[in-house]
């Protein structure tokens, strides 16, 4: 494979976890819940996926375990913020702190063990095309899933009754409640969906991106996914652009390092974080009405008065 194809391939695998985590959080936020625990759910997904794959010998079981781990974390969050009406910002932070600690404890015996890599799905015929074949049609299944998920979420949110209900709950929970919608129930489902996606994104890291377990291996990707949702102005398709942009920035840092231009590696490693800040600044400044695009009830607690 040519070096350029190799780079493009790496960009796709680096962007996929960002996209998966962000699409889940987008649905969560559309229902009016701000879950800052993406990083914690992701890292738990990563450790659970790695461990399950290692013990069962099946990366697919690993993927399943990572989804369940993300959902379990999200369930704690949903219980606290929706049932006990706790502060969403603080609870999300707690989820991240707990996830980072717990995954470190669980994963201690996994450190240094070789992991299992998720098989690549070659699409017969197309993957043999020169250059574009292996890049577009020879990826692991989750790359395709991430795109399919984005399409499905966009269709679901804007063209189905369920999507209408989710957006209604996120934009005006009082009205939705008056119409007989279970605000708490809808939000719980959306939070769990976000958790499943975050967990899966973490599993992608430890099963496909770098098949091994390293403590704190998410390295802020959960937070970048949160920024991506703001960047996308809560529009699913814009997440693809954002995720691939951020994935590319990270990979280009590595490439520059490998080529050996005289910039210290630490500066290149800090690029994704700096670009995140810049992107937030640009998007917030351009749409000073960014508040208007955010779901109107984002972060607001809801207590049914019966």
């Amino acid at each position: 494979m040519s070096p350029l194809a190799q780079v493009l391939l790496t960009i796709i695998t680096a962007s996929t976890p960002l996209l998966i985590a962000a699409i889940g959080e987008l649905v969560t936020e559309r229902s009016g819940v701000l879950n800052l625990g993406v990083e914690g759910m992701m890292v738990m997904g990563a450790v659970a996926g790695f461990g399950a794959a290692l013990t069962t010998g099946s990366p697919l079981v690993g993927v399943l375990a990572s989804i369940l781990a993300g959902m379990a974390m999200a369930a704690i969050f949903a219980f606290l913020t929706l049932k006990l009406v706790s502060n969403q910002v603080a609870t999300g932070l707690a989820l991240t702190l707990l996830g980072l600690g717990l995954s470190g404890l669980i994963g201690e015996s996994f450190v240094g063990q070789p992991g299992l890599r998720l098989a690549h799905l070659a699409i017969p015929g197309l993957s043999d095309l020169p250059f574009v074949g292996p890049i577009l049609f020879g990826q692991d299944g989750l790359v395709y899933l991430s795109i399919a998920l984005t399409v499905a979420v966009s269709y679901g949110l804007f063209h189905t009754r369920l999507g209408l209900i989710i957006r209604a709950v996120g934009d005006s929970h009082g009205s939705a409640h008056a119409l007989g919608v279970s605000v708490i129930g809808v939000r719980a489902v959306c939070v769990l969906f976000g958790g499943a996606c975050s967990g899966l994104a973490g599993g992608y890291l430890s099963l496909a991106y770098t098949p091994q377990w390293i403590e704190n291996m998410t390295a802020g990707r959960g937070w970048i996914a949160l920024a991506l949702v703001v960047f996308s102005s809560w529009q699913p398709y814009r997440l693809i652009i954002g995720a691939y942009l951020f994935g590319a920035v990270g990979v280009l840092g590595f490439v520059a390092q490998a080529v050996g231009i005289g910039i210290p590696s630490q500066f290149l490693s800090s690029l994704p974080y700096i670009v995140t800040v810049l992107a937030l600044v640009i998007i917030s400044k351009r749409t000073l009405s960014a508040r208007a695009q955010a779901p109107a009830c984002l972060g607001q607690p809801f207590v049914p008065d019966r």
Binding site: L36, I76, L80, K83, L84, V85, S86, N87, V89, A90, T91, L93, A94, L97, L98, G99, L100, G101, L102, G104, L105, E108, A219, G220, W223, L226, A227, V230, P264, Q266, F267, S269, S270, Y273, I274, T276, V277, L280, V281, S284, K285, L288, A290, R291, V303, R306
Partner: protein, 358 residues
């Protein structure tokens, strides 16, 4: 059976104090379960974890050294969170404070004066303030979410420190180890008597008391609370939400920076790639456990310091991973947030089906 939350007519003062105690109790119960799972006799585990660190003079010294940075940072964060300003990048501000303060021993190594350490501390505060000012200004000028920007800057600061100690600031006589020169006596915080307890511990308590006075007895404290709970009312009173964002970040960033320089001019004695075991993040838990009250933060800081020390002791006693401490800390925050519900709501457990309760 249904569990319903009934809003109290007014916030329960009793629960405001009982909630953190209840949370600690629940954490201990969970600790028993975790110890049992890990195959450690639970009561012995609890003793080693939470009581042993309090039983000798030597460990009490260590306890105060661990608690000092937590108290310093959390006192500042409690003011910011009261103002509804979410600075979660204290770890980065701590790092920048350490870098700024360390510039004197590294760049002006020969300057020997009683003022050396004072200048280092002031530079540490400045470094933390400047690093905190970035998300604050971005929030005020462009509306960029301060939670995300302040957190991103943690990674940037840590990578910058990593570059410094492996590159330009590496000790030329350090056998290529990634660390700066070791600080001289006059570049270190003085200690109390023959103990290891340095003046930073006193500074932490002083900072907490000063912020308590600010919050309880001054107009500024009133402004913080009004803008935090009722921003519209605050604007009508002529308080500026923008200036409050800057103020909150300067206070919390400055104190985090001070904690950073106190760490390296205290126990650490030099710049290294990693200078803090996550004090900036643990301080978030301390702030909530201390009821976002600077005096409460002192108690909470000591409690969390126990969990750090207990983690080390349990590691040597039973071979339990020292990472268990972080699990306890994370659980504790969850329990606090859950128990805080009881301040505003009563829990009603009814066996009747829905509708019958109305």
């Amino acid at each position: 059976m249904r569990i319903d939350l009934i809003k109290r007519p007014e916030a329960s003062r009793l629960m405001a104090y009982a909630s953190p105690l209840l949370a600690v109790a629940l954490t201990l119960v969970t600790g028993v379960i975790i110890f049992a799972v890990l195959g450690v006799p639970p009561l012995k585990g609890l003793y080693v974890y939470f009581i042993d660190p309090l039983t000798s003079a030597w460990s009490l010294e260590k306890l105060s050294l661990k608690a000092a940075p937590l108290i310093m940072i959390a006192a500042g964060l409690s003011v910011a969170y009261r103002a509804n300003v979410w600075n979660i990048g204290a770890e980065g501000q701590l790092t920048m404070g350490a870098i700024f303060g360390a510039s004197i021993p590294i760049l002006f190594n020969s300057w020997q004066s009683p003022l050396t350490i004072v200048a280092m501390l002031l530079l540490g505060i400045l470094g933390g303030m400047l690093w905190g000012l970035i998300p604050a200004l971005l929030k005020v000028k462009t509306g960029a979410n301060e939670i995300l920007t302040s957190l991103m800057l943690v990674y940037v600061a840590q990578l910058f420190l990593d570059w410094l100690v492996r590159g330009p600031w590496r000790d030329p006589k350090g056998y290529n180890f990634p660390k700066s020169v070791t600080f001289e006596d006059w570049q270190m915080l003085p200690t109390f008597g023959t103990t290891d307890v340095h003046y930073g511990v006193a500074l932490a308590v002083l900072a907490a008391v000063a912020l308590w006075v600010l919050m309880s007895f001054t107009l500024k404290g009133f402004e913080v609370r009004v803008l935090g709970t009722a921003p519209r009312a605050g604007s009508f009173a002529g308080f500026s939400p923008q200036r409050m964002v800057i103020f909150a970040f300067l206070v919390s960033g400055g104190l985090a920076g001070l904690a950073g320089i106190c760490e390296i001019a205290g126990p650490v004695e030099e710049l290294q790639p990693v200078i803090s075991p996550g004090y900036g993040f643990t301080a978030i838990i301390v702030a909530f456990l201390g009821r976002l009250n600077p005096i409460g933060v002192v108690v909470a800081g000591l409690a969390l310091a126990v969990s750090y020390l207990g983690g080390e002791e349990a590691h040597t006693a039973f071979g339990i991973s020292d990472k268990a401490a972080r699990v306890f800390q994370g659980l504790l925050l969850f329990y606090i947030l859950a128990c805080d519900t009881l301040i505003l709501y009563r829990v009603q457990i009814s066996t009747k089906p829905k509708g019958a309760t109305a």
